[in-house]
């Protein structure tokens, strides 16, 4: 009995611990939402609070009255996410399949060639000069897709999965007269759908949350993806108040503009939807680590 009681007590303490930690983890999100829903005057009077003292949808009304900028940013982000993920998945799968074939004479050297780029890199400046001066991709959406197209880590993960496929599959297909390309596209790709789905999710997540390359390469307001819109708004709310295009589009009297709440409203509108969608796929994020071990 005694051990039972201490057992349930320790369980209770564990639950208490995780309840407190979970609440502490989630609360910060709520502050942003609460601020976006508070009247601007109340914000300057009482500061940011978890419970809006004066509930108001003004910030969202301002944003959604002329939502062009936000919609365009969504458009750019969706475009680079879809295009980037498809191309990235294909190239990753092709490379990973080749290095997973133990009977392929150049598999070790190809693996080294890919893996080495994970250990040593030219760094920011040479890449920046390559993309702006030699490839002329400034203000080109390709500059958002290409730099993160092929991650050695993803290749290694997929390689781990592919090397577990029985080699007999390939051999028997060869006996039936299939060519390597045919084997890859008609047999290997369909067989690896689960791994590809997981990897595709990780890649699309990376594209969706990409801001670094956008900061480096995108100036054209028409090509600003969501995350860059957020960067600019965070760095200075003056981006909105001094960007005449934005102000005109919003058709607002700037003196009356809800600075604080609008800033948080942009954060909610830009970050909210994915924060609701991604957690549904949480288990795939874990699976991404276990589909293959790093050491092939």
């Amino acid at each position: 009995m005694n051990t039972n009681a201490s057992y349930s007590l320790s369980r209770f303490l564990i639950h208490l611990f995780f309840t407190v930690v979970s609440i502490a983890t989630v609360l910060p999100f709520l502050l942003v939402v609460a601020v976006s829903l508070t009247d601007e005057k109340a914000l300057t009077e009482r500061g940011y609070q978890f419970i809006p003292s004066d509930f108001s949808l003004n910030a969202y009304r301002y944003m959604l009255d002329s939502p062009d900028i936000l919609f365009r940013a969504y458009g750019v982000t969706i475009l680079i996410t879809v295009a980037g993920t498809l191309v990235s998945l294909l190239v990753t799968a092709m490379t990973a399949y080749v290095v997973s074939r133990r009977d392929y004479r150049y598999n070790r050297i190809t693996t080294f060639y890919v893996f080495f780029t994970m250990l040593f890199s030219g760094g920011l400046v040479p890449s920046y000069i390559l993309i702006t001066q030699y490839l002329h991709l400034k203000d080109n959406l390709l500059a958002l897709i290409l730099p993160i197209l092929l991650s050695p880590f993803n290749i290694m993960v997929l390689k781990g999965f592919l090397s577990k496929l029985p080699i007999e599959v390939v051999e028997s297909a060869k006996i039936d007269g299939a060519k390597e390309l045919g084997i890859f596209f008609k047999i290997i790709l369909p067989l690896s759908t689960p791994a590809l789905a997981t990897l595709g999710l990780l890649i699309s997540f990376a594209y969706w949350n990409e801001w670094f390359n956008a900061m480096l390469y995108i100036d054209d307001p028409n090509k600003v993806p969501l995350q860059l819109l957020l960067v600019r708004t965070l760095n200075s709310i003056e981006f909105i108040t001094t960007n005449s295009e934005f102000a005109q589009q919003l058709g607002i009297d700037l003196s009356d503009f809800p600075n604080n709440s609008a800033r948080m409203a942009i954060a909610v509108l830009a970050g909210g939807p994915m924060l609701v969608i991604f957690p549904f796929f949480q288990r795939f994020f874990v699976k991404g680590l276990t589909v293959g071990s790093l050491k092939g």
Binding site: T25, G47, T117, P126, Y128, L130, L181, K295
Partner: protein, 332 residues
């Protein structure tokens, strides 16, 4: 098969036998290589896009490291710009900049690594003690910050820290205390950054270790229970030792990237405030500013060169050490 007769005629014709034979050997090796390639041409073709991509986007920039030794001018290009030897590095190491950003980068990474690993191990062990339904619930909550980009985390930090209206300062005022100029006072930033990093990374790292615990055979615990071991003993004597390979892999990965700082964390959470550089600036943010805000390409390239080379040495060292201790755990 076709090679043989040809070889024979050649060695018969050639008076000096050996060199001819050697070139023949070379030739046939080359031919064998080519025939291998021909046989595997479709596999090679499949890997070609990846190879070309890495050539352009990973190997060409390595050549660009030369910029660190040049006075780079956009109009002259990499090869047209003048060589300046180590001049770009001189500035860096005569001021205290190099020391400051190196210290910050390494110390923060060590701090993040230790605190996150210990906390995640603890969380994972505790989660293992409660029912799966609840585990999943807590994991989802802990995992939420992982889905945010650093930019969005910047908004959250701003909502708390903003000087005039931020949540913390208003709380301080209502408690009768002085508000703190968070974005101007560099003192508290090491704690803030470590807390924010822990908040964002703990869910993911816990999941990694939890998955590791799930992979441990139940037999061990069964045997321990029969022997009358307590839960704490099981955690310390079974779970942690069996997780060691995983912990080591995670540690090497982070030692290897000790010189690569988390740009997003150190750029957006302090809101790139100049007052805070003493305690928030890391190599990555410095390189970015030198390139994009100051516009000094050569200086930026010099710091980048330093980061690439030392980072590479660290990876080799880390792997070498691990291989010496236990070859099974090394990455190659």
């Amino acid at each position: 098969m076709l090679d043989e007769p040809v070889t024979k005629t050649h060695s018969q014709v050639g008076g000096r036998r050996e060199p001819a034979a050697r070139t023949e050997k070379k030739k046939s090796a080359l031919r064998r290589e080519l025939s291998h390639l021909r046989k595997n041409r479709e596999l090679f073709l499949l890997s070609l896009p990846g190879i070309l991509y890495k050539l352009i986007f990973a190997y060409l920039p390595m050549v660009g490291l030369l910029i660190a030794f040049k006075n780079y001018r956009y109009d002259l290009g990499i090869f047209g710009s003048k060589w300046v030897g180590l001049d770009n590095f001189k500035f860096l190491f005569t001021t205290d900049t190099a020391w400051r950003i190196t210290r910050n980068t390494v110390l923060y990474n060590v701090g993040y690594m230790l605190i996150t690993t210990v906390a995640a191990l603890l969380f994972a062990v505790l989660l293992n003690e409660i029912r799966a339904k609840w585990t999943r619930f807590y994991q989802t909550a802990l995992f939420l910050p992982h889905f945010l980009s650093w930019v969005l985390v910047g908004y959250i930090a701003y909502a708390f820290l903003n000087h005039s209206d931020g949540f913390i300062n208003r709380m301080l005022i209502s408690l009768g205390m002085e508000p703190i100029s968070w974005y101007q006072d560099s003192g508290p930033w090491p704690y803030i950054l470590i807390l924010v990093h822990l908040w964002k990374a703990i869910g993911f790292t816990t999941l990694i270790y939890f998955a590791g615990i799930m992979g441990i055979s139940g037999d061990y615990y069964e045997a321990a229970r029969i022997d009358g071991a307590t839960k704490t003993q099981m955690a310390l004597k079974i779970t942690v030792p069996l997780l060691t390979p995983l912990i080591i892999i995670m540690l090497i990965l982070s030692v290897g990237s000790m010189f690569r700082g988390d740009f997003g964390l150190h750029y957006f959470i302090p809101n790139n405030s100049g007052f805070l550089y003493a305690s928030t600036d890391i190599i990555d943010t410095y390189v970015y500013r030198a390139l994009r805000e100051v516009g000094n390409v050569s200086m930026s390239a010099a710091v980048g060169f330093y980061q690439s080379v030392v980072g590479f040495v660290l990876v080799l060292l880390a792997n070498g050490i691990v291989r010496r201790i236990n070859p099974d755990h090394s990455m190659w």
